[in-house]
Structure formats: C-alpha cells, structure tokens
Assembly symmetry: C2
C-alpha cells in the first residue's frame, strides 16, 4: 500500500508480515524502474561505440579483474561460452581487450583491457557512478547501509560471496 513501515490497520500482532509483503510488492517495481534507468546511462554511451550491454558487462569484469581467465569470466556472467565468444570477438577485434597466454597453464587465455578499453570503461563507470552518487546524495545518508544490505540479501548466496571480502574487511582489518 504505502511506506515500508506503515499500516497496522488491525489489532496488534503480525504487523511485520503484512508490511513486508506490501513492501515487497512495491519493490518489484522499484527493481524494474531503478535498474532500467541505471542501465540507460551506460546504454547511451555504448550506442556511440556500437556496442551492447553484453560488451559492457564483459569489459567491466575484465577491467575490474585484470588477467581474468575466460572460464572465470563465464562463471561471473553466467552465460555460455558461445555467447561470450561473440562478445569477446568484437572487443578483441576492436582493440578494447587483449589476450595473454597463462603463465602456469598455457591453455588459459588471460583477458586484459587495452588503454582504449580502459578509456571506454572509465567513461561507462563514471556515468553510472555519477548517477549513483547523485542518488546517494539526494537520499538520506543513513539510507546507504540499508540499500546495500537489502541488495546483498536479494542475491543468491553464491553471488553474495563475491562481496564478502569487502564485508569481512572491516572485521578482519584490525588484525593487520
């Protein structure tokens, strides 16, 4: 109906289930519109380079995981190697990504972004980061941890673990 902590129209108990349920219904639409507008700022940049979202995703994870293997990238993206191959081909042929034979395992093709690839990636990240910083600034600063916690909770356990190093950082930090 309305806000996440609203209602309590009845007597006294089971206040949470009802509130969570209506909050979840609204959240379905929050996810749709927020994600669409979030990806939109990158899509506009990608258009200028005749690239799609799939190229963006590959470029992003190669850029933030320099030297990543094809297999690991496939695990992150959760697509087939044939799908990735097409995308990777464009990125490599376009000079945005380079390959390097693995050091220990010569079957591996380690992926690296070229300077041009990094330039494009910087542009994409800046645009999305700017959108998010504006959003964070216009929201109550106290909203941030809540946003983060809910987003993490929505993910599968497997995906959530990708963020855990950052989480445990805080607790394991002072051990140094």
């Amino acid at each position: 109906m309305d806000g996440p902590l609203s209602d309590l129209p009845t007597t006294h108990d089971t206040p949470k289930p009802i509130a969570l349920d209506s909050a979840a219904l609204e959240a379905i639409e929050l996810m749709f519109f927020a994600y669409r507008d979030f990806t939109d700022v990158a899509d506009r940049i990608l258009e200028d380079h005749d690239l799609g979202r799939a190229h963006h995703r590959a470029l992003y994870f190669i850029g933030t995981n320099g030297g990543i293997t094809v297999g690991h990238l496939l695990e992150i993206l959760n697509i087939t190697k044939q799908s990735l191959a097409r995308v990777l081909r464009r990125l490599i042929d376009g000079g945005l990504v380079q390959q390097k034979v693995g050091n220990n395992d010569r079957r591996q093709r380690l992926l690296l972004v070229s300077p041009q690839g990094q330039a494009l990636l910087d542009e994409l990240i800046s645009a999305q980061r700017a959108l998010l910083v504006r959003a964070f600034n216009s929201a109550d600063p106290a909203s941030l941890p809540g946003f983060r916690q809910v987003m993490l909770s929505i993910m599968t356990e497997e995906d959530r673990q990708r963020f855990e190093p950052l989480v445990s950082d805080a607790s394991a930090d002072r051990a140094a």
Copy 2:
C-alpha cells in the same frame, strides 16, 4: 567529471564524497547481481510457459493496471509499438490477455488479463515477492526505508513520479 559534490582529495575535509564514491562503485555490482538473481526466479517460471521477459513485463503492468490502454503501456515500458505488438500478440493469442474497446474513445483497445493470465501473473509475483520477503527478513528491518529511498533516487524523475502517490499518501493522509 564525477559527482556533484565530489573530489578535492587534498587536505582535511570532504569525507563523504570519497565514501559515496566507493559506495557507488560497489553499488554498480550490487545492481548487476541483485537484479540478475531477482529476474532469475521469474525466468524459470516463464520457461515452463515458453514466454520471455518481455511477456512478463507486459503481463505485469496490464495485471496491475487493468484496462490500461496500449499507448499508456508503451509509455511505461518505453519500447516501440512494434516490439510490444509482437509480445501482445502472443499474450492475446495464448488467452492470457484480452482487449476491450474503450468506453469514451472507441479507438482505444483496453487491455485486461484473463483468469489464466492472472493465474500466471500470480505465480510470477508470488515467486518474486517471496524472494524479496526472504531478503527483507534476513536484512535488518531498518534497512527497508533506506533501500526504498535509494532505489527511488536512482530513477529518473519521471519514473519516480509513478511512486509518488504512495509517497505523498503519508503526508496527505492525515488530511482526511
């Protein structure tokens, strides 16, 4: 270059811009993984009915806006009428959606979900709602308003307005 109130990484102040900036970088990935896993639960159901995400979106907004016009649906989805036509054709031919001539304007084709369409939509909504309720339960209850506020702030002003009736409810409520 970046955030509206950002940088100046020099002497002593501006602690927030830096924090917001790194939070925004992490949020790029939060958006990617959370949205993917969120859509995944619906995708699995859609597979059983040989429908795609586009059908889900159309069915959803028809179901939650009974009697919506084609034009209004196009505005919400932000796609071309040719794209929608293909999707709508499947939904109508499959008996999930029905059309009705407009009352005031007989050019309009008002869209309505059939009982079967509602059954599928219920299934889809239940699955996503269950995922979100689980997420909300595993997160701190105080996280919810923050999540909502940030998601709203990420959207364009136009999309945010779709939620405003709900927002202003709280402030205009006591007027009754």
